[in-house]
């Protein structure tokens, strides 16, 4: 059993209430930080922990905090990114639903570290029930003197507000989120300036994912060094993984970074294997934006190493044969799934969610959707496959925000690893409407395809 830091008490009845959360040792981190540590001490502890942003990019949280500008007389803000819209990701919703005080406690500790006196939790609008839960948790914490003016008699003041989004994946991108929080369309800003210099209302701002903020609680309680002992290399601590698709036990799991992918898929402690005893065909390890890998490359790297759930191991082999940990949206495909159809579905998603500011993304995602629709429905040509490859290359790296890359990578990876399936659709237009391609040469337990 791996250590649980965020979900340790998840099965405790009433852990969603203040009373039970407090009784289980909740808000100790607030007491410790506010009463015995300076804000810089807190930042230092988070740096020592090696915590990396859990929203997808994996940028070291302590380092990000140390970039925050501190001009005299200008307010600073902490904004929690609870927009969670990356297909395959549902861990933040789980945390906020079942143990909301873990986020509120982390918000207080983190706001204190950054010197923020007003903080916002930007929650995607569809999560109205979670918004109510968080508002209730905030009210409880406030009644207990842990929020508001002069918290615990330390002289530190903090208000936390919950902001609903309006339904737009792009508002998970941090500058689009800030635009949205200012009451505008979610168009990402051109960077620099980065939010650490000019964020919300032009003031210095840190945007962090729900899970990153909640992780500061065990870091302060046990110390950054203790946290860093868990995990491997620069992948320290625990991570929430959202597991979905064709597995026996979909759900949210807290893992110690470093568990092997194979163990995560097949052990009863986690996903419990593929449904109906079928074979694994493909896997998306970190949310729809990261490259999809065939079974043989997800359990072992091209070099033959066992693939582990860490930032480094999942990325081994680069985009030729690796992928990314991303947000931890772990999507499992069994032998009956169609890669072309899935790629079309994701392309449609990105086209739908493109904010439309840059032409490569706005037009390119639309093209990819159309071409993939054509191939999936039996009207594709071999040239279409090359056209797709060409379009995705022209999007990548040529846009204001990373949504363009996020749209391009899944298409590139699908063609790179499953080209034979695309060709089969083109060559067998009728048959491809009746049945799926199934497993092919890349299937378990064949040797990895090294390019």
């Amino acid at each position: 059993m791996g250590r649980k830091l965020l979900l340790e008490h998840i099965n405790e009845p009433g852990i969603n209430t203040f009373a039970v959360y407090r009784q289980k040792g909740g808000y100790r981190a607030v007491e410790k930080a506010l009463k015995t540590m300076s804000p810089d001490d807190v930042v230092e502890e988070v740096k020592k922990s090696g915590l990396r942003g859990r929203g997808g990019a994996g940028f070291p949280t302590g380092l990000k905090w140390s970039f925050l500008a501190k001009p005299e007389g200008v307010p600073r803000y902490l904004v929690c990114n609870a927009d969670e819209s990356e297909p395959g990701t549902f861990k933040d919703r789980y945390l906020m639903t079942h143990i909301p005080h873990a986020l509120i406690e982390g918000m207080i500790v983190s706001s204190y570290a950054l010197g923020a006196h007003t903080s916002y939790i930007y929650v995607r609008g569809e999560m109205m029930p979670q918004i109510r839960i968080l508002e209730q948790a905030i009210a409880e914490a406030k009644a207990a003197g842990l929020l508001g003016d002069n918290i615990l008699g330390t002289g530190y003041n903090l208000e936390i507000y919950v902001q609903p989004g309006g339904g737009a994946y792009i508002c998970g991108e941090e500058t689009a989120l800030l635009e949205s929080l200012e009451g505008k369309r979610g168009n990402p800003r051109i960077k620099p300036p980065f939010p650490a210099i000019a964020g919300l209302y032009g003031c210095p701002t840190v945007v962090n994912n729900v899970e990153s903020i909640a992780a500061t609680v065990p870091i302060i309680n046990d110390g950054g060094e203790e946290y860093a002992k868990i995990g491997i290399e620069r992948s320290t601590g625990t991570k929430l993984i959202s597991a979905s698709g064709n597995i026996n036990k979909p759900g949210v799991y807290e893992i110690e970074l470093g568990v092997s992918v194979e163990e995560f898929i097949y052990s009863d402690e986690y996903c419990g294997g593929i449904t109906n005893g079928k074979s694994l065909k493909a896997l998306v390890a970190g949310g729809s934006s990261v490259p999809i890998l065939p079974a043989n490359l997800i359990t072992k790297t091209a070099a033959g190493n066992s693939r582990l759930m860490t930032y480094e191991s999942l990325a081994e082999g680069g985009f030729q044969s690796g992928t990314m940990l991303g947000s931890g949206g772990f999507i499992v495909y069994d032998e009956d799934q169609c890669i072309v159809r899935n790629t079309w579905n994701f392309a449609r998603f990105y086209h739908h969610e493109s904010c439309g500011q840059c032409s490569p993304c706005r037009e390119g995602t639309g093209w990819m959707e159309k071409v993939l629709h054509k191939i999936e429905h039996g009207h594709g040509t071999m040239d279409d496959i090359d056209l797709l490859w060409d379009i995705q290359r022209k999007i990548e790296g040529n846009t204001i925000c990373p949504l363009g890359d996020a749209a391009a990578w899944p298409v590139a990876a699908a063609i790179r690893h499953f080209r034979d399936e695309f060709e089969w659709h083109v060559l067998n237009p009728q048959e491809s409407q009746q049945r799926n391609y199934g497993l092919a040469h890349y299937a378990d337990p064949l040797e990895p395809v090294v390019q």
């Binding site: 395959g88 609008g125 979909p250």
Partner: protein, 174 residues
């Protein structure tokens, strides 16, 4: 999309205006525009959709231009710019849910309600549409119903039938 036919005059109640004011109090002075998205949710919860008149009145309340409200209302997918069914079923249609049968569920809803995506049933009770990933992928197929955004998870054809019947009865009683 914003046509005169889609208009519907509204008069915000004092209770609703009080809620607007509470939202505005969350932001620094002069940053009341931040209240726009939360206020549009409140308006939609009250009337079921956002008419041009409602949006104009929100603009007046927040002291911003009407276009600033329209551009937001048209950008975000949760805001309805025309009347919906009393119960607007929103089914997730994204990849992970499709692995566990979301497309079958959408087809079933279409057959069962007898209206296409985006249309309203003749009795005004139901409309439906596909939406993108609802952050519930492990519990798919899923659908949500506003304005509370209650989730219905692990859907089957039978559970969808039951849900529709329950809602129909609830509407009759009301």
């Amino acid at each position: 999309m914003l046509s005169v036919q889609e208009n519907f005059p509204v008069e915000f109640s004092d209770a609703l205006l009080a809620k607007f004011a509470e939202v505005v109090s969350r932001y620094p002075a002069g940053k009341q525009k931040s209240a726009l998205l939360p206020i549009l949710h409140l308006v939609q919860a009250e009337y079921g959709w956002l008419s041009t008149d409602a949006m104009d009145k929100v603009a007046a309340f927040l002291q911003i231009k009407p276009i600033e409200v329209y551009e937001v209302a048209t950008f975000y997918t949760m805001y309805f710019l025309r009347p919906q069914g009393k119960y607007a079923l929103e089914v997730c249609r994204t990849g992970p849910c499709c692995l566990v049968g979301a497309e079958r569920i959408m087809k079933h809803i279409e057959d069962r309600l007898g209206v296409r995506e985006g249309e309203v049933t003749a009795d005004g009770l139901f409309s439906w549409r596909g939406v993108e990933c609802l952050a519930a992928c492990g519990y798919g197929p899923v659908l949500q119903i506003g304005p509370e955004y209650t989730f219905y998870e692990n859907l089957t054809e039978e559970s969808v039938d039951q849900l529709i019947d329950t809602l129909r009865n609830k509407a009759k009683e009301a």
